[in-house]
Symmetry: C2
C-alpha cells in the first residue's frame, strides 16, 4: 500500500550507487514492496577488490547496529567484526594507555571491512524479489522533473534511460545525482576540503598469526605534527590512516607535509620521532608509505536534499563529513531508516521527502561540526592531562547517574539520541559543570572567610 | 618593468567580464603597461540598456571613491551622482525620520546608475593605448595551466582562443572562470542563497520634475514582514528594491512571499499596511510589481582565488555578498587596487597572486558576515528604540573622541580601514561599552550603599 503511487501502481525506485547507503536502502525499499533498481558505477563488491580513497575498514556503532538489526543482519555478523573496547594511545617513550569507550560491556565499537559489509548488504538486498542490481552502470543524466535517469557504461559508450517514480542519489560525497538535481537552481551548497589528507598503512600480523599490538581497540598515535589512527581487522592485522597536512606552511617550518616528506630517510626519521613504536610495527613503513596515494577529506553541506517528489539524496551525497567521529556510515544508515519510514507514512510524495530532510538535516549539520572538532580532539587533546581529567569527570558523573549525565561521546556512539539533541544536552552538562565548579569555588571562599573571621573575632 | 614577464616580454592579460571590477582593472593594468584584452558577454554599456537582476543603481562610499580617484575619475563625476546624507526611515502613521550617516560633511554616500559608472570606466580604460574591449564574447573554456582562454560568440557558433600570461575572472557571482579554474580540484566553495529575494520599483519624479520625497538620502521602509530600500537618481526619481521571502513558510502563515502575493488586491493591501506612504509614491505599484522579475541574492565564499601564476579572480567572482552593507562594488574596487599593486611589486607570479589573496580574503570574509547581519539590522533594528539609543551613544562617543571611538558603520563606509580590522575595533568598543555600563552600575551601587550606611550609621 505504501509502495504504490497515488494512482495505485507499484512504485518504481531507481537508486544510484550500491555503496553502504544504497544497498541498505535497497533492502528496506524492496521489503516495502517497491520495485528497486540499483545502478553502481563500479563492479560487484562480492567480486572483491578494494576501492582507493574510501578507507579499507570502518567503525560501526549503535546507530549502524540498529539499522543492520532492522534488516535482520547484525546477529550473524560476529565473524566479520573485531570489537573495539576503547582507545589505545601510543606515545613516544610512554607505555600504551588504554581508555575504555564506555562503562558497560555493550558500549563498544566494532571494526569491519567496508567491502565485506557492502557485500553482505548486497546479498541481503538480492533476497528481496523486486530488487535488482546493475553493476558497471554510471548515472550520468537526469530529467529531474520527469523522473528519467540516463545511465552509461564507462568505456563502452552504451547508454540506457530508465523511468522511476523516485530517483535516489546514494552516490557518495561527489554525487553526480546531487549536481544534476541542483543544476541551475538557487540551492545552498558548501564543500570544505581539510588541509590535511591521509595515506593508509598496514600493521601486519605476526608470522604465527597473532596480533602485534592489542587487537580489540582503536589505536591512536597523537602528535602535534601528525596523527595516526588504526582499526583492527579479523586477521589480526590493523589498517592505519596516517594524517598529515597536504602542503607546507611557510609559517610552520617544523611541520612536515605530504609534499615535503619525499625521501625514505625523511619518512623514517619523522615517524620515529613522532609516532614511537609505529616503525617497529610496520617494518616496511617507507615502502608502504610511497606505494599508497594521498586521499582528500571533505565536508559537504547542502540544501535542499530533494527535488519535489522525484529525486532525493542519502548518506555522503547530502552530508559527507570528516571521518573523525566514525559516524559517516552510521549516520548514512540512519538516513535510510528515516527515508524508508517517511515513504511508508506518506507514499512517494513531496511531503515524504521534505519530512525526511527536516528530520535529518539539523542533526547531520551538527554532526559535521562535531566531526571537525574531533580532529583537534584526537590530535591534540588526547595527550592533554587537563582534558583527560575533564573526560574522567564526565565518565565518573555518568557512573554515578547514568540517566542524568551522559558524556557527548557516549550519546553519539552508543545511543541513537539525535545528534543535535545530544549536543544540546552536552552543552547543558558543560554549563552545569562550570556552575558546579563556580559554586564550589564560592563555597570554599565563604568557608575560608568564616574561618578567618572566627580567628580574627 | 613590472608589466613584463620573467623573460622580459610585455605581459598579456585577458580579463573576462567588463563589469565594474573588470573595467576598472583594465584601466589600472593598461596604465601599468600590460597589453589588456577584456571580453564581455553582453554589449557595450555605453550603448545603454539595463541588465536585469543586477540593480539599477548603487551606493558608492569611501573605498569606491578612493579607487576612482586613483584613476583620475572621481572629480568630474558629480553630475552623475546624488549625495545620500543619511537614511530616511518611513513608517506607517509616523513622520519621516532622518538619520545622518556621519558627523562630518564628507561622510556621505553617493548614488549612481550602475550603467553610467560602467560606461565611464570603459571610456577611461579605452584611453589606455594597450587596452582593448571585445563585447559580445563569452569566456567559455580555460586551459588553466597553459594560460589559454576560449571565447564564444553567443548564438553564432563563432569561437576564438587567446593566450595570456594572466587570465582574470571578473565575471561576477556566477563566474565561469571560477568554475573552470576550480574544476576537479580540492577547493573550498560555499554558496548561500538568501531565502528572501527582490523586485525593483520606481518612484517617479513629479510632473514638474521635482522629487516626491527628500532626494539626498537612502530611503528605508522597515517592517517585520518585508523591507524596501530606495536609492535616488539624478532625474529625481528613486529606484526601490522590495525584499520579501521567495516562498511561503507554513510556520508563519502571516508572512506573505513572492509566491503568495499574486493578485493586485493582495499586493495593494500588503503594501498599504506595511509600507505606509509607498503606495502614494508609486501610484502604479501593482503594475510595476508584476512587470518586474524576482531576483536572487547570493553570498559566495571560496578559496583559492588563483591558480598558480596563471588565473585569478576579482570582485563578485570570488566574494559575492548580500547587498545590505552597500559594499559589493566598493570592495571589488579595493581588490583591483590591491591586485594591481601586487602585480607591480612581484610581476606576474604566484607570489603576486597569493599575496593578493592573503591581503584581501580575510577582509572580504568578514564583509560577507557583516552584510548578512545588516539585513537583520535594516529590517528589524532600525525600528527598535533600544538599538537607536545604542547607535546614538556610538555617534556621541565618536563626536567626543573622533580618533578613539568609531562606529562600525562609519569605519566600513567612510574609511578604508580593512574590514576585519574595523570589526575587531568595533568589538573592542562594544566590550568597553559593556564594561563601562557595568562599572557605572557598580559605581551607582557603591554610592547607594554608602548613602544607606550613612543614613543608618
Ligand atoms: C578514511 C575514512 C574513514 C572512515 N571511517 C568511518 C568509520 O569508522 N565509521 C563510519 O561510520 N564511517 C566512516 N567513514 C565514512 C563512510 O565511509 C561514509 O560515510 C559511507 O561510506 C557513506 O556511504 P554512502 O553509501 O553514502 O557513500 P559511499 O560509500 O561512498 O558509496 C557511494 C557509491 O556510489 C557509487 N557511485 C558514485 N557515483 C556514481 C554514479 N554516478 N553512478 C553510479 N554509482 C555511483 C560509488 O562507486 C559508491 O559505490 C570513513 C570515511 C573515510 C574516508
Ligand atoms: C540589488 C543589489 C544592490 C547592490 N547595491 C550595491 C551598493 O549600493 N554598493 C555597492 O558597492 N555594491 C552594491 N551591489 C553589489 C555590486 O553590484 C557588485 O558587487 C558589483 O557589481 C561587482 O562587480 P563585478 O565586476 O565583480 O561583477 P559584475 O558587476 O557582476 O560584472 C561581471 C561582468 O562579467 C560579465 N560576464 C559574466 N560571465 C561572463 C563570461 N563567461 N564571459 C564574459 N563576460 C562575462 C557580466 O556580463 C558582467 O558584465 C549591489 C548588488 C545588488 C544585487
Amino acid at each position: 500500500m505504501s509502495a504504490t503511487t497515488p494512482d495505485g501502481r507499484l512504485g518504481r525506485v531507481a537508486v544510484v550507487g550500491a555503496g553502504l547507503a544504497g544497498s541498505l536502502l535497497a533492502v528496506l525499499l524492496g521489503r516495502r514492496g517497491f520495485a528497486v533498481d540499483v545502478f553502481e558505477r563500479r563492479g560487484d563488491p562480492r567480486a572483491g577488490g578494494e576501492a582507493e580513497g574510501r578507507s579499507i575498514n570502518l567503525g560501526i556503532s549503535a546507530r549502524g547496529i540498529r539499522a543492520l538489526r532492522a534488516v535482520g543482519l547484525w546477529d550473524g555478523m560476529a565473524p566479520s567484526l573485531v570489537p573495539m573496547r576503547g582507545r589505545v594511545i601510543h606515545q613516544p617513550g610512554a607505555p600504551l594507555r588504554f581508555q575504555p569507550y564506555g562503562t558497560r560491556p555493550e558500549e563498544i565499537l566494532h571494526s569491519i571491512r567496508r567491502n565485506e559489509l557492502n557485500a553482505v548488504l548486497v546479498d541481503r538486498a538480492e533476497k528481496e524479489p523486486a530488487v535488482r542490481f546493475h553493476f558497471g552502470w554510471r548515472g550520468s543524466e537526469l530529467d529531474r522533473d520527469g523522473g528519467r535517469l540516463t545511465l552509461t557504461k564507462p568505456g563502452t559508450g552504451e547508454r540506457r534511460t530508465v523511468e522511476a517514480d523516485l530517483i535516489i542519489g546514494a552516490d557518495g560525497a561527489f554525487s553526480e545525482v546531487r549536481q544534476l538535481m541542483h543544476r541551475g537552481l538557487p540551492v545552498n551548497y558548501r564543500q570544505d576540503f581539510l588541509d590535511w589528507g591521509y595515506r593508509e598503512l598496514t600493521i601486519r600480523s605476526n608470522p604465527d598469526g597473532s596480533a602485534r599490538t592489542p587487537i580489540e581497540a582503536l589505536h591512536v598515535w597523537p602528535s602535534r605534527r601528525g596523527l595516526v589512527v588504526a582499526h583492527p581487522n579479523t586477521d589480526n592485522s590493523l589498517t592505519c590512516t596516517v594524517l598529515l597536512p597536504h602542503h607546507d606552511d611557510p609559517q610552520r617550518p617544523d611541520q612536515p607535509s605530504f609534499d615535503s616528506l619525499t625521501t625514505e630517510a625523511a619518512v623514517a626519521s619523522f615517524f620515529a620521532t613522532e609516532f614511537g613504536d609505529l616503525p617497529e610495527l610496520v617494518p616496511d613503513l617507507a615502502d608502504q608509505y610511497f606505494a599508497h596515494p594521498v586521499s582528500q577529506l571533505v565536508t559537504i553541506r547542502t540544501a535542499p536534499w530533494h527535488h519535489r517528489d522525484r529525486v532525493v539524496l542519502v548518506g555522503d551525497a547530502c552530508h559527507a563529513i570528516y571521518p573523525f567521529y566514525g559516524q559517516g556510515m552510521n549516520s548514512a544508515f540512519e538516513d535510510c531508516l528515516v527515508l524508508d519510514d517517511c515513504l511508508a507514512r506518506y507514499g512517494v510524495s513531496e511531503t515524504a521527502l521534505a519530512t525526511y530532510q527536516q528530520s535529518r538535516k539539523p542533526h547531520t549539520d551538527v554532526l559535521a561540526d562535531l566531526a571537525t572538532d574531533n580532529f583537534i580532539e584526537l590530535r591534540d587533546r588526547v595527550r592533554n592531562p587537563l582534558h583527560m581529567l575533564r573526560a574522567q569527570a564526565d565518565l565518573a558523573l555518568h557512573r554515578l547517574a547514568p540517566q542524568l549525565w551522559q558524556p557527548l561521546y557516549r550519546m553519539v556512539s552508543h545511543t541513537a539520541i539525535p545528534y543535535a539533541d545530544a549536543l544540546r544536552r552536552a552543552q547543558r552538562q558543560d554549563r552545569l559543570l562550570t556552575w558546579g565548579a563556580a559554586a564550589a569555588t564560592v563555597g570554599t571562599a565563604l568557608v575560608a572567610r568564616a574561618a578567618w573571621r572566627r580567628r580574627r573575632g
